[in-house]
Assembly symmetry: C2
Homo-oligomer: 344 residues x 2
Amino acid sequence: MIRLALDAMGSDKGPAATVAGAAQVSLRDDAPHIILVGDTAQIQSELARNPHAPERIRVVHAAEVVPMDASPRDALDALPDASMLVAARLVAAGEADVLVSAGNTGAVTLACARTFARLPGVGRAALGAVVPTEARHGARSDPFSLLLDAGLTLDPSADDLFAFALMGSAYAQRISRNPRPRVALLSNGAEPGKGPPAVVEAHARLAAYAALPGSPLDFIGNIEGMDIPRGTADVIVTGGFVGNIVLKMLEGVSDTVMRTARAAGERRWRYAAGLWLLSPAIRRVRQVTDWQQYGGVPILGFDHLCIKAHGRSTARAISNALKVATITARTDLVGGMRAALELR
Amino acid sequence: MIRLALDAMGSDKGPAATVAGAAQVSLRDDAPHIILVGDTAQIQSELARNPHAPERIRVVHAAEVVPMDASPRDALDALPDASMLVAARLVAAGEADVLVSAGNTGAVTLACARTFARLPGVGRAALGAVVPTEARHGARSDPFSLLLDAGLTLDPSADDLFAFALMGSAYAQRISRNPRPRVALLSNGAEPGKGPPAVVEAHARLAAYAALPGSPLDFIGNIEGMDIPRGTADVIVTGGFVGNIVLKMLEGVSDTVMRTARAAGERRWRYAAGLWLLSPAIRRVRQVTDWQQYGGVPILGFDHLCIKAHGRSTARAISNALKVATITARTDLVGGMRAALELR
């Protein structure tokens, strides 16, 4: 039985969204056991209003909550019984398999760093993210690539990039049901010598690792900016500074295109009619970037996994994050990452 | 009289495109004087077939040509009389005001570095590029921001970023007729403390410089990825690694959208009709990213200017690059950059 520790107080909407999401998941046939961590009174009152399977839900009290806009270090120092810390301690103690939180990203990461141990060979943690692509990925035909790091480690060393590649590969194998995900380094040219020194060195190490007998890694080398939307790679490895800019730029492009199209539509019947005809296709593209659909992204690098849901998560987004967490536990993602890191 | 030195042998199409572009420009009322540098016989035969103003065109012979795919260092070492080097020497000697080349980008930059002097306060050079934006910029309502560096200096120091900001501001003032261009650093958050150390330090220096009495700089702080397509800043300052990825990703997004739309159009009459109705708007967006339209981008950092045209330049692109070069000479861009760099 998979057991998940859900920080019930994280997310902008508080327990209303998290408890409703957990309640929905508890009613499924293959539901995991869910520990709701937070203010018992609030959680119980939300549970009372949502149909759920009581034998699959347990409540653990935590008196404090990290505010969404708090400084992570100050907040965790001041709030030792914050729901995310209590939930992380349940995971570290073996009472749950995976931590799920929609709280303050920096604070959740720091809670992991303070409560979990780093995997051998991992210097710094990475946050995964999904990028909508033209190509499909894995047996589930996922319309997105995994990109890491999305912002935790701004300026990674070659060792960090190497570890990100192995961890991202193990994650994509399990989440996209893709036995040999194509892993690439993001650079300013396809040649192995292109990029700043850390990228060039990581390229050499990944190529050597991929050539080992029985290597789990399919390293396809460097990709360039135009390969991101195309979906050339299943896993895109880069530093957190570049990753953050890439992800926010994609958001910005899609917002700008929608806004421009709408403005054009208001001005001319011709454009309005064109947009109406294309609207099913536009909706499909939007669904890919929809974080409610995807639910959660992994914090990778520790001996326990955390699935981070978006701060604006609805009940539906939370239930999807719980499903992702269940898959990672069932497929022993942490064991897979550990084995990949030990091979070298 | 403005005098331009045009590397007539650069570009994939050779003298056919460069000479035709120069010939077109020579017929305008306010035409500059153009020195065509390259193989005299080939240039004369192209001139013979293009109407032009002979009193405004001079040919200077250069026996050698740098191949488009050559290693820059090896090529310049082996070809001391390459057309781009001869043209750069004419500029350095004061016989021409601006160098224009559609040749191998790395080789053109190295030719500048070997022939020109760096401006005081500039450690490394930057290549400018234009990014299509939702917002309009300057008195000409240009539909693009200037981004630098586009790939010359992968990992700039705070000093480099500082110099890029001042040079980019001086360029945008002249090219977009924008007396106070809004200049921003690209980072992973709006706060001054966000980003790797070089970005944080450059932020502090630019803020202090903008606060000087009579400062020519309007520094609006950090922008994030979503601000790029929106056009929040007139000038976006970043390192060449990030700049290259951002620019190629924008290319890739527009290609992917067009390809996906076309595929959808083939499958369904509904999408085909919608695309037909929207086609004028789509064409307008494509024009912004059209390098033929814009013609050339600046190599900034030296005591002489080089306008780099695209390798695939047509005659029209070359004539636009010559116009951009003429504006920079008429408005004394190099003097403006020098004055801005000396203020601190």
